[in-house]
């Protein structure tokens, strides 16, 4: 029930990002030379590392879901016995990777601002910051959701389907945000 509702909501989120992609492509097709000038300022290797971390965080998130489906919140072995990790350990790792992505994104914004790519500078700045910025806000929302899921997990004496269900739907959201980023990355950094 909860998961069906989440997927239907995520499909509406897809349309939200459709609007942002449409804006990006429209401005790109009407701005002429501006795009090639401004995209030259992007730091591709930096963004690639950031992207890889975010994509990997989807895998760690999924490992947390497998643990949640086993109804196992805590690890049953040592800290570095990854195979025995519970949901909490995997989700904390996912949180840290997501936080790394947001920090990297902020650093990139700072670098671009120093090269005079800002939200109100020109059409490219608007398109770049609106698309990546709204995606970044979604990532931050996901990080807050992970904190709530961890909180529920720590609050529960008996980790049951109630906790597992919310962990699973949070992972749906995280995978969705990850896939949207892959789309944004291809459009902004690869396609240019």
């Amino acid at each position: 029930m909860v998961s069906v509702g989440t997927v239907v909501w995520l499909s509406s989120e897809l349309m939200f990002f459709a609007g942002l992609f449409a804006m990006y492509f429209t401005l790109r097709s009407t701005s002429g030379e501006l795009w090639s000038e401004e995209t030259a300022k992007l730091n591709f290797p930096f963004a690639l590392v950031n992207t890889i971390v975010l994509v990997l965080s989807s895998f760690t998130c999924q490992m947390g879901v497998f643990a949640a489906e086993r109804l196992q919140p805590r690890r049953s072995g040592g800290l570095f016995q990854f195979a025995r990790w519970g949901m909490n350990e995997w989700f904390i790792l996912t949180f840290l990777m997501g936080a790394f992505f947001v920090a990297g994104q902020s650093t990139e914004y700072a670098m671009l601002t120093s090269e005079h790519v800002t939200l109100n500078a020109n059409a490219y700045g608007s398109a770049f910051y609106m698309t990546t910025g709204f995606h970044g806000l979604h990532v931050i929302g996901g990080l807050i959701a992970f904190l709530f899921i961890l909180g529920r997990s720590f609050a529960a004496k008996k980790f049951g389907h109630f906790e597992a269900t919310s962990a699973i739907v949070t992972s749906y959201y995280w995978h969705f945000v990850d896939v949207v980023w892959i789309g944004l990355f291809l459009v902004i950094y690869v396609l240019k």
Binding site: S11, L14, A18, A22, M23, S29, F148, R152, A155
Partner: protein, 133 residues
């Protein structure tokens, strides 16, 4: 769940070709329509694929058969809150937030604080107090 899956999923076979046709009709210059229609196909595919996978996992449900009885669908359906004050609190926080944008920015900070209280209250409602488990 085959019917539900097809009901949503067939949208892919309509919207994706239509977006390509639209692209040709507009000389690939009008991107709002191309991407909008294409991603409506994505929307349909997302829900259709999800229902398809879920259908494979749960198998035949009573509502998929013509000869099923009402009692076969009995049992636990999931967790449903009987009532809660927290959605109202969160709604007030959102209303306060928009009021802040319209009237005075300082109200936004008060509303943001209230939103944090409401979210924490809502998320942990069934994890603490009488409902601790």
């Amino acid at each position: 769940m085959k019917i539900e899956s097809w009901l949503f999923g067939t949208g892919v076979f309509f919207f994706v070709p239509v977006s390509i046709v639209y692209g040709f009709l507009t000389d690939w210059k009008e991107w709002v329509g191309i991407l909008g229609i294409l991603l409506v196909g994505g929307l349909a595919g997302m829900i259709g694929a999800y229902l398809g996978f879920t259908g494979k996992r749960v198998g035949m449900r009573p509502e998929d058969r013509d000869d099923a009885e009402i009692h076969e669908g009995a049992g636990e359906q999931g967790h449903f809150s009987p009532w809660s004050w927290w959605p109202l609190v969160l709604g007030l926080a959102c209303a306060g937030g928009f009021l802040g944008l319209a009237v005075g920015f300082w109200i936004l900070f008060v509303a943001a604080g209230l939103a944090v209280v409401a979210l924490v209250g809502w998320v942990f409602e069934y994890s603490r107090g009488d409902h601790a488990h």
